[in-house]
Each structure stands twice: as C-alpha cells, then as structure tokens.
Symmetry: C2
Subunit: 432 residues, 2 copies
C-alpha cells in the first residue's frame, strides 16, 4: 500500500518537469512502451490469467469477465492506439493568442498540461494503457486507480509503463498507481496537489466522487440518450438506428433509453417499431397513449411521466408520443442527461432546429447515439465522456487534458503609467 | 424578493432560445442598452445618490465609497465597453472541428453558450453592466447578484438592461437579479438549472461558494503573486515594477505579496529596494537573513517560513532570499496561488526557464503583475480571474463563457456495422 498524499505531493513536484518534457522525449517514451508491451506479452498474460481465475472463482459474470480478459487482440489494439497517439500533433506549446498590448509589451497564450490528474477507472487493463498514454502524451502526471478485479494485470502493466517512462527521461513521480479502494477517499482529499479527477464507472460512483471532493471533477454521471422520430422520418433509418442504439451494447452510457415519436406518424410507425424491438428481445415501456398503439403487436408496460429519467443500461426502452419537435426538445432538455440525442428526419429545417435547441454534448441526425466515443470521433482514445459543459464536453481526448498559461513579456512596464494616462494600450494581434 | 429556484428554472428554459439568438439580435440589444444607458443617466445617478447616502450613513470607508459611486465617467466607460463588445467577433457558432468519420457521416464541433450562469459580484454598478453585456454577447442566461450597497443602482440598471433585451427579441427569463444575501444559498442549490457559478469577492467568500455547491465554480480564491529578482536583473526595472505591483492598487488580487531575491545580488539590491519601499510607505517583513541586510536602511519584521502564504492586500510585503531560479520556482509553486508571478531578469534563458516552470495562470518577465486583467489583455471586459486550471485560466472574457457541442450527421449509420467489420472509419479533416 502506498501513501496517496505523499504520492500526490511527489506528482505535483514532478509536474513542472513533466510539463517541460519535449515532444521527442514524450513520443520516444510512448514508442518504447509500445515495444515493451509487445515484448512482455507472456508476463502480462500470466498476471491476467491469475486475475481471471480469481474473478471466475468469485462468480463474476461472463460479460464482466470479457472485459477483464487481456488477450493478444487487446494488446495489439493498445499498441496500435499508442502508435496513433504518437502520430498526433503536440497538444502542448501551441500559441493560442499572440497580442502586442503596447510597444514592447507582448502577451502570449500557450497550451500547457493541467498538471496532476487522478483517474479512477473500471476493471479493464486496456483502460490503464490508454489513460496513461494519453496523460504521457499531454505532459500530465497521473494517479491511476483501476478496478480491483484486474489488480495483478494492472501492476504488471503499470510497472512496465512507468519504468519505461523513467528510462526515457520523464521525471520520477510522473505516474503512480493506487491499489486499494480506501485510497480513493484519500485521493479525494488531495485538492492541494491534484488538479483534476476523472472518475469512470457507474452513475452512483461518479456522483459520490463529485460530492466528496473539492478537486474539479470531469465525468459523466449518466447517459439518458434519446432518439426522436420526426414526422418526416425514413422508416428504414429509424428502425436500424433505434435497434443499434438500444441493442449493440446496452451497458454503454451512449445507448438509447427513450424513443420519442411524433404523434402524426405514431399509428403507422409504432407497431412496426414494437415488432422490431420485440424481435430483438427489447422490453417496451411507454405512456398509456403509446401502449395503446403498441399493445396489439407487443406487450408494453405502462409507465409514469416521472420515470422518463431512467437509465436502464439493459434491453428495456421507454416510448412516448410528442406533438412536434418542440415537445421533443423540451422533453429531452428536461429528462435527458445532456449526453447524446438524435433525430430521425429527412427534413433539413427540423433537423437544424433540433440540433440547435437540444442542450447536449452530442446532437445527431440519422445516426446511432452509440457513435459518441473518442475512438469513433478520431481522438485516438478517450479518458472519458463528459456530460458537464465546463472545460470539456462529450468524448475527451488529448485536448481535454490541456489548459493554457498567459506569458507576458515587458521591458519594465508598470500599470501606473496606463492608469495615469502617460501610456495607453494599443492592441495588435499577430496571426498565430 | 424573488424565488431563485423558479427563476433558475425559467432561465434554463430560456437558455435554448437564448443560444439560438442571432449575432444581429444580440448586438442590436447591446447597442440599444448602450443608448438607453446614456439616455437614463439622471435616473441612474438618482438611484446611486440614494445608495451613496445610505453607505455614508453606514460609515462605509472612502475607498469603498469610490467603488459604489456611478458617475458620468463610469457610465461612459461602460458604454464604450459595450461598443467594444459589439465590435468583437461572434463567440458562438464557430466550427472548431469538421471531420468526415466515414462516407456520409460527418462530425462538427461547434461553439455554443454554457447556458445559465450565476454571477455573484461586489458592490460596483459598472460590474453589473459589464457582466450582463458579456453574458448577452455570449448567448448565456444570467442570474446576477450584486453587492447590497448598490442595490438601488443595480435595480435601475438591471431593469433598463433586461427590458431592452426583451424589446430587442431576447427571450423572457434570459436575465434575473437576486437581491438578498440569503438568495445566494438558494442559488447554490440550483445545480439542475445553473451550469456555472462565477463568484467575485474575498478569498473567504469564494471558498464558501466552492464548498457549498455542486455547480461548477469558476473563481479565483486568492492572489499570492510573486516577483523574483534574478542575479541578471536591471535595477531600474526591478524597483519600478515592484513598487507598481505593490502600491498601484493594493486591494487587487494581482498585487504582489512576496519578493524573492537572488542571494548573489541581495547585498547590493536589498538596501536599495528597502529604501524605495519605505519611501512608498510599504511595511517590510522578511526572513532573518533578509532582515539583516534590510535593517540598516529600514525596519524589517522577521517572519516565519510558514507565513509566506499570506495575501496582505495592503502596503505590506514579504521578502525572502533564494539561491537560484530553481529555489524561486519551488517557493512560488509551493506558497503561491497560481495567479500571476514575474521574474526580473535580462537573461533570456533564465526567463524562459522561470516562465516554463512556474505553474501559474500568468508568468511575466520584466513587467508588473498588475497587468493581469481582462481589459489590459484586450478582452473588452472580464467576468473574473480564474486561478483554477480547468475550463478557463487567468482573466476570463467572452471565450470563458462558451462551450461547444458535437453535431453528427449520418444517413442511417449504425455502430454495429463498424463493430462487426462491415464498415470502417476513414477520418478526413476539413480545414475550418
């Protein structure tokens, strides 16, 4: 067991050096890590086999076991992810603003790392590799706490990554690994040294983190995603998008939980939809009005209006009729979680209106909500999906791990001269 | 008295319409507000005279009274500020990313307002005008709570601004004004409807806000700014910058609180500095080592190492000797508040090293820390200065009031096709 407070203070101390590491050093470290991952497959598999055996013995469900398993394919994905990350441009040092305030007084805004980031993530060994690579590329120090079911695999992976990072010249303390669940609470109290927390996991868990720390938290707390089927819908697109968004991976936060259907087409569309859902083993719940149209085709449990804020994460779907796009927007903005919401329509005006008015990180037209993901957006990887609006929204890649500082160069300039009218500002922006 | 919870819910409802308001509508509203401010001077002065009389009667200090006073010059500044804001480009609608993920599946990242912002600010009528103009230009709904000492002036200003905004077509509920101190606590509980809180005021007050709400908070909690005088310093610059940063406006968060002096030049520089400080009525406190060099010239109170985290906001300055730039950086990163810190040096290498290693929103060379300010940075105005690193850092203008959303356009695209290998992503960025 490590002392998290001490490790956080060490990371804070390392963070200035980490921020100053050149792109070459950071990329070389990533390349070496990729190589060592390939060379160390056997040791990794061995540790993972121990984790798997313990999990099976503990009666962990097959779907979770699938996530714990770290096989050849997953290592290859991780290695490819690292190569992709190496090929991305440097997120640091970018000059975002260059402005002469007055003669000889020049202001620059320059991208820099956030500093020390604490990431608490689920039991998935690939997550450890992705997250630590993202932090490394963005010059951040990382405190990593992974799910306990993969503790042995995580240890092997972490040791390999951290040792390689040090060998390649990154500062001691740039990464540390927390092991025990009670270390999370200790981490939450490190607001002097930790600049950002990224918790991944259940809604309840993320809320717990948010309510128990002064450190800024970037995490989604739930995903209540909607699909609105407009009167100008295309039936084929509507059906396949809804089935995909509900069934392709039900446990994901970007799976759809509620379908809103325009009253004008409900009589025609709802029975067809109900049939398709039932064929895909999706249980339907709906308002009384919806259930009356569905009932002749499939069972539909009647639900109360106040239940529409339910995240099922299962083969269950809420259905409701709405008068028009305005009612759909209002429902989504009231009951949704501002994650990802889609409209099915062939009407450009309605689509634009929906996408303007819905207050969510992702607003989609004629495609599955399941696309909300850092890989699918081309970010190389993601550290999480943010449903907050501050700092980063939606899937968070490298850019979300970066902040900026203002650099001001003068030649003895003082404010009194400007306050007393002897000099005045004369802003001239340079193109950056 | 208004019901803040209801007003916040109303603002949330208005926020989608506010976000959709065109630049023309927003700019026209600002121009009308500027005109009406000029037309309504008499009514504003009358209300302000009542506030001033009450404050004088209550024995408010002359320096505070100066801030409460809303005169011709301050109205003109506000009006000019609004014209400047109108001339700035639209912060909304900017396409930050445009990427084809696959044939017919295109992702855009588009700038949009944050939504509903609660701003709690000190008793300064010009602050109300600046803050509401910034929110209006950036398409945000604002809940405004100003200092009670200017309640009458604020009411006249708010009514004028809000009425004009409505007349120009902005949605009802886009602004509201809280009056009473206990309404702040009510505001803190509106985490469902308020997206961001910006508290301005004392360190203690900002901390209170941070500790009592789940709403993200953007506020500086203190300003412990440093100036490091390097061995390669220019004496003239060092003296005038330090005197300016300490005395030009002591109550500001960007005033200097600690001067660090290289041991190599201390014997020469400290007596000169001490003389200049004393002439400017600045009380000196320092380590024993520093005081021994200062004592022959001026009184120097000996202070403990643990007192260097003091924000005096007064004509008092802490002084310490350091071995080199590394010790200066370590001291600043440990005792500072990550606000604004400066180096006085003619050495380019030392300057760059300092500016890289100091972990603050502003890192300055050869100029006064007092430049850390939205106006002086050319932002038109500021809603506050952030010492946090998340979302916005340093002086926060329009840009800090904006977030983004991802828009994804498909043609029936589903994730299953990609997961099962029938299609694959083919990222193509368009230049934006």
């Amino acid at each position: 067991m490590i002392n998290i407070k001490e490790e956080a203070a060490k990371a804070k101390k390392a963070s200035s050096k980490m921020a100053a590491a050149t792109l070459e050093v950071r990329n070389n470290a990533l390349l070496s890590i990729a190589r060592r991952l390939e060379e160390s497959k056997e040791a990794i598999f061995e540790a993972n086999a121990e984790d798997m055996a313990a999990a099976e013995e503990a009666g962990v469900s097959p779907s979770i076991l699938k996530r714990l398993k770290f096989n050849e394919a997953k290592i290859n994905d991780c290695v490819n992810g690292i190569y992709q990350l190496v090929s991305l441009p440097d997120p640091l040092g970018t000059v975002q603003l260059s402005r002469e305030l007055d003669e000889g007084l020049t202001l620059y805004r320059v991208a820099c790392p956030i500093g020390v980031i604490g990431i608490i993530f689920e039991a998935r060994p690939d997550a450890l590799v992705q997250i630590s690579s993202l932090c490394l590329k963005s010059g951040n120090c990382a405190i990593l706490k992974g799910g306990k079911e993969t503790a042995k695999t995580n240890k092997v992976l972490f040791d390999l990554i951290y040792e390689t990072a040090l060998k390649e010249g990154l500062p001691e303390g740039c990464m540390c690994r927390a092991e025990l669940h009670n270390e999370i609470d200790e981490l939450l109290s490190c607001d002097k040294d930790v600049d950002l927390l990224i918790p991944r996991g259940s809604n309840r868990f993320v809320r717990y983190i948010m309510e128990n720390t002064k450190i800024p938290v970037m995490g989604h707390s739930d995903g209540i995603c909607h699909i609105y089927v407009d009167e100008d819908y295309d039936e084929g697109k509507a059906l396949s998008v809804i089935i995909d968004a509900k069934t392709q991976y039900t446990a994901a936060c970007n799976a759809v939980e509620t379908v809103l259907v325009s009253r004008k087409i409900a009589e025609r569309f709802l029975p067809t939809l109900a049939k398709a859902l039932t064929e895909n083993r999706v249980k339907i719940r709906g308002t009384k009005e919806a259930s009356e149209l569905i009932d002749p085709v499939a069972p539909c449990e009647i639900m109360g209006e106040d239940e529409f804020n339910t995240e099922y994460l299962d083969l269950v779907l809420s259905v409701k009729l709405v008068e028009d796009v305005d009612e759909a927007v209002n429902h989504i903005n009231s009951f949704g979680s501002h994650h990802t919401d889609a409209i099915i329509t062939e009407n450009d005006v309605t689509a634009e209106y929906f996408m303007q008015m819905v207050d969510s990180a992702g607003v989609y037209r004629n495609c599955s909500t399941r696309f909300a993901d850092g890989f699918r957006y081309g970010f190389g990887a993601e550290v999480g999906i943010s449903t907050g609006k501050i700092h980063a929204r939606g899937p968070v890649g490298l850019e979300g791990l970066v902040t900026y500082k203002y650099k001001l160069y003068g030649n003895g300039h003082i404010v009194r001269d400007y306050a007393e009218g002897r000099r005045s500002f004369n802003f001239k922006d340079k193109v950056v």
